[in-house]
């Protein structure tokens, strides 16, 4: 965190100054470790084993916050008899289809909850046993697990419960059994973490949780970028639920996300599987009309129950008057998914030739995406490519200076891609809002005109849309109706006739029947009377004011600082904050008071906007058959969940199992010590000759590598390798190795090393450092190679890209790439030109992998 979110880290330091204990779990000793009370070096890719053992530690010693657990989590829920755990199936859950490598969640369901097979549910895996497997696969590929970005997926009805937590099939007991084998000894075997250190962390965590104290988890891509990325975070979520750390100040799980508006670009997604506000993109097999699309949620409890209103309002904001009840609000204008159309399959489509045109707008896949070669080969096979950036990034110049040109795999003259490089305007050259990692929107103002041809994306896309519409004007082709009916008239201003970003934000916020900006998504209707571009952002333009531009100085308001920017939903700063009060609505403790029930006023109140129905008393019990928000009970603190509870066990919604399970990374030096199942069975595999994996436990690739960031550089480097002040601070690509590995391989500090995988080999300068520890995993010594991934061929400082080494294997839920693999490392620089191919081939031969062609 100190490395990648340094200014956010000031709050960790603040906490430390007040006595907080900081534990840092990372393969390397980083700047964060330097400030931590405890640094826990871990074998990359083994976090579930470590976290799972903490779960086990809590459960076996009954250290959980029982009152919280019973009231707010699904610990008491009973699961059907059909469910079989990894204990029984040696690492698999019930419902696995080896044919499609995917799960059906049917057997994971709650007892008593309807197993209704309503068509078109958000998660189709409950559509009945016959279609289970196929539907599970479709759901996974359709990226539906990710639609849980603002609340869990729906389970219809409420489950049977045993509040004594004794029922053998209640979630609590299932959890106990599932994690029983996650012992400190196992942690030693799997993660290379000593029992003493494990005990210390367990003690710090549990003694700092409870009524008076809370513990928080912060994570980022050290957890997500794995084939079990989502399950890594799920394990932490289980811990936090058991310890009562959710929805409370100083608690929770903080995703330290990436770019300035990565959160915004998920909320208002430029993602294939989502529409704004986590509304899923319709799937061809389930959603042919609006009714089937919203049906699954229409039946459920909680705020997702109003899905129809959100969807219709979105369609109205896209197609305005053209969208009416008569034409299903233009629902049919939406393209449908049939599978996984995420970025890596798109690259496969480029290699196949089906994907012909590519916009790269503010991303640098030639350096940033896993398996850089696949990315470049894909781009070399396009008809046209538009790159919009500040500088000549590698994704714009691959056709003349990519590594494949050097090796002779590609010839510039043979590459038929037509490339447009369009210069982009920077953040000070345009108005707009970023949503930071706390879900907070902050407005930035245009300060100067963009130089030369530079334009904002807003201007470019608006202009592009205008031209396409003009060129298609008069077309009678049904295909063109969505384009021509689009509401696309935004007020323009300034010398370059820049569209008004505020007008767009207002459209996102939504307007009511009278055309005035709405102030809350609760006002959205499903009859076409309201329009709203992103329901969770409704309120950001409340009172016709740009709430994201609010800048009341932090020191002039409470520590929650609610009048700075605007956080979705409803300017709420801590989600599920109802859980900061006990079931009766009283703060768990005075120290930790945040939101509570004011019985006299008959309302929830506190330091933040309560995340609850404002006037719903703690003792409210919804009547049978209640739907939508009406079905939220007074103690259902997790209101976006359809059952109102935090999920220790996920009966639905995950592609790789209801509980986190340790699997070895796709390339591993170990045999899975926990189960006979080596890898995550549902992991996303990208099969292509350019994406070969190293064999497991190969002596040819005996070391683990992992990749990461440096404080001084940013991601693929386009924004830092081009700047003199940052380049001089980290002037060359390097790798970090332990003194023992250096001795073993003859690596010299400051010298060169070549790092080899089945994909290719790269070179880097060497830092020999005690900060990379040799791990004792069982009775063997495990060495890890650390690789920052910021370098490429352009810029002030240039170097080989780590991502040329990284294979593409995806998390099945989020389709995110991995960051670890296995490799060999040798002193000296790598061969250049065609000799590099021969060198890598030599490794392949020795590893016994037949080469393709």
């Amino acid at each position: 965190m100190a490395e990648c979110h340094p200014v956010g880290f000031q709050w960790v330091m603040e906490a430390k100054a007040r006595g907080a204990k900081i534990v840092h779990v990372d393969p390397r000793f980083t700047r964060t470790s330097a400030m931590a009370d405890v640094h826990v070096p871990i074998r990359a890719g083994s976090d579930i084993a470590f976290l799972g053992a903490l779960v086990n530690h809590i459960l076996t010693r009954a250290l959980d916050f029982r009152e919280y657990v019973v009231a707010y989590t699904n610990a008491a829920a009973i699961v059907t008899e059909d469910f079989q755990d990894t204990e029984e199936l040696d690492g698999l859950f019930s419902g696995f289809d080896p044919e499609s490598n995917s799960y059906s969640a049917h057997t994971w369901r709650y007892e008593g909850a309807e197993a209704a097979a309503a068509a078109g549910q958000r998660d189709p895996s409950q559509t009945g046993a016959e279609e289970m497997a196929a539907a599970g696969k479709a759901a996974r590929e359709g990226g539906q697990p990710e639609t849980a970005g603002s609340g869990g997926p729906s389970v219809p009805g409420k489950p049977e419960r045993d509040e004594t937590l004794q029922h053998p099939r209640c979630v609590y007991q299932i959890l106990k059994r599932h994690f029983a084998r996650y012992t400190p000894e196992m942690v030693e075997q799997v993660c290379g973490i000593s029992r003493e250190q494990f005990a210390e962390v367990a003690d710090i965590l549990t003694t700092n949780s409870g009524r008076e104290r809370t513990a928080a988890f912060c994570y980022a891509v050290g957890w997500t970028q794995h084939s079990v990325g989502v399950q890594n975070i799920r394990t932490a979520a289980i811990l936090q639920q058991l310890l009562g750390n959710m929805g409370r100040p100083g608690g929770g799980i903080m995703a330290l996300r990436g770019h300035a508006s990565i959160q915004g670009s998920t909320d208002i997604p430029t993602l294939y599987n989502l529409l704004p506000g986590y509304i899923p993109m319709p799937h061809a097999h389930q959603h042919q009309d609006l009714e089937s699309f919203v049906a699954a949620d229409a039946g459920t409890t909680g705020y997702w129950g109003n899905m129809a209103a959100y969807t219709v309002s979105l369609l109205k904001s896209y197609w305005g008057d053209a969208a009416s009840a008569d034409n299903d609000f233009c629902f049919d204008y939406l393209p449908r998914l049939t599978g996984d159309h995420s970025t890596y399959p798109t690259v496969l489509a480029q290699l196949e030739g089906t994907c012909k045109g590519y916009f790269v707008v503010g991303e640098n896949p030639a350096v940033g995406s896993a398996n850089g070669k696949m990315q470049r080969l894909g781009m070399a096979n396009l008809e046209w490519l538009v790159v919009r950036d500040f500088t000549m990034i590698e994704s714009a110049t691959f056709w003349k200076d990519g590594p494949e040109i050097e090796t002779g795999e590609l010839r510039t003259e043979d590459i038929g891609t037509e490339v447009f490089f369009l210069p982009a305007a920077s953040h000070v050259e345009k108005d707009g809002s970023f949503t930071n990692t706390q879900r907070m929107l902050q407005w930035h103002y245009k300060a100067v005109e963009p130089p030369g041809d530079c334009q904002s994306e807003l201007k470019f896309y608006h202009e592009l849309g205008k031209r396409i519409r003009a060129k298609l004007a008069g077309s009678n082709d049904e295909r063109d109706r969505p384009v021509l009916d689009l509401t696309w008239d935004y007020p323009e201003h300034g010398p370059d006739r820049e569209p008004s970003a505020e007008a767009v934000l207002r459209e996102i916020n939504g307007t009511g029947p009278d055309g005035a900006a709405l102030s809350s998504y609760t006002a959205l209707a499903d009859d076409g009377s309201t329009a709203c571009g992103c329901w969770i952002y409704c309120g950001v333009f409340a009172d016709e004011l740009n709430q994201a531009a609010r800048r009341k100085p932090g020191r002039e308001q409470s520590w929650v600082a609610p009048e700075w920017g605007w956080a979705w939903p409803s300017n709420r700063r801590i989600l599920y904050n109802r859980a900061s009060a006990d079931p009766d609505g009283r703060p768990w403790s005075e120290r930790k008071a945040y939101v509570w029930w004011d019985a006299d006023a008959g309302t929830w109140t506190g330091h933040d906007v309560p995340d609850f129905v404002a006037d719903r008393p703690p003792d409210y019990v919804p009547p049978d058959g209640a739907r939508g928000p009406d079905a939220i009970g007074g103690q259902d603190a997790f209101i976006m969940q359809s059952d109102g509870k935090a999920w220790l066990y996920a009966p639905i919604g995950l592609a790789d199992g209801p509980l986190p399970t340790h699997y070895e990374p796709p390339e591993s030096i170990l045999e899975n010590p926990l189960y006979g199942t080596q890898h995550s069975p549902a992991r996303g595999r990208i099969v292509h000759p350019a994406n070969p994996l190293n064999p497991d436990q190969s002596e040819v690739y005996p070391y683990v590598f992992t990749s990461y960031r440096l404080t001084e550089h940013h991601t693929a480097g386009g924004m830092t390798r081009t700047l003199p002040y940052l380049s001089e601070l980290q002037p060359e690509m390097f790798c970090e190795v332990s003194p023992r590995l250096a001795a073993e391989r003859g690596l010299v500090n400051g010298g060169w090393a070549t790092i080899v995988t089945n994909r290719t080999a790269i070179e880097a300068r060497v830092l020999v450092t005690e900060r990379v520890r040799t791990l004792r995993v069982g009775d063997r010594k495990v060495e890890q190679v650390g690789l920052p991934y910021h370098w490429g061929v352009n810029g002030i400082t240039v170097g080989d890209s780590s991502n040329d080494l990284v294979h593409v294997t995806l998390d099945p839920n989020s389709h995110i790439q991995g960051k670890v693999g296995t490799c060999d490392i040798r002193p000296g620089r790598r061969p250049t030109g065609p000799a590099l191919l021969e060198y890598v081939e030599g490794y392949r031969r020795r590893a016994g992998i037949a080469s393709e062609a």
């Binding site: 500088t391 009341k552 002040y725």
Partner: protein, 188 residues
């Protein structure tokens, strides 16, 4: 020391006149030093902004003089960052004013070995044509007997560095065009 004589221009004289016999302070100051003003004070516009790098979302204050950015520093009002910036945030001015920025459209013809110049207007027009053409050629109404109403011929990547409003317009336009392979950094 306000009533300066001509002789006072010579610091040696000032040394003797002021108490600064050793010529350490007051006496040694030069004219430009006396007139020193920070460029934050001489800026003709001060604009509130947000750091463009990472998701922490630190507040920035942008100082503009004669239409150019002269300084970017932390916004002390921000409850997120309290005026602080990391090295990247601190280098933001260089990001914006860097001579390495490419400010002209560049065009590479298929199979060509070089970049060419291209007029911005023409470029956008050509891109619009490419979109229309590719879309027409790759349009699919149905797949496996189900209506899909889309093109798999056009993809887009990027969004996490962009404004919400930009992402909104992008997704809106792409969706209307029937393009579905729209992706950003959330995936990688």
């Amino acid at each position: 020391m306000n009533d300066r004589t001509f002789l006072d221009l010579w610091p040696v004289v000032r040394q003797l006149r002021s108490g600064d016999l050793l010529g350490r302070g007051e006496a040694a100051k030069s004219g430009p030093t006396r007139r020193l003003t920070p460029r934050t004070a001489t800026a003709d516009q001060v604009v509130k902004s947000v750091c463009p790098y990472c998701a922490v979302g630190c507040g920035q204050t942008v100082y503009v003089k004669d239409g150019a950015v002269v300084q970017i520093e932390g916004d002390p009002d921000s409850p997120v960052s309290r005026g602080r910036l990391c090295p990247k945030g601190s280098a933001s001015k260089q990001l914006v004013t860097s001579p390495n920025r490419v400010t002209k459209v560049r065009y590479r013809r298929p199979h060509s070995t070089e970049w060419e110049d291209l007029d911005l207007d023409t470029a956008i027009d050509m891109i619009a044509d490419r979109v229309i053409d590719t879309r027409a050629r790759t349009w699919v109404w149905e797949e496996d007997g189900k209506r899909v109403r889309r093109t798999m011929g056009i993809a887009s990547l990027g969004g996490a560095t962009l404004d919400n409003e930009e992402n909104y317009l992008m997704k809106k336009l792409y969706t209307a065009l029937g393009a579905v392979q729209i992706e950003n950094q959330a995936r990688i």
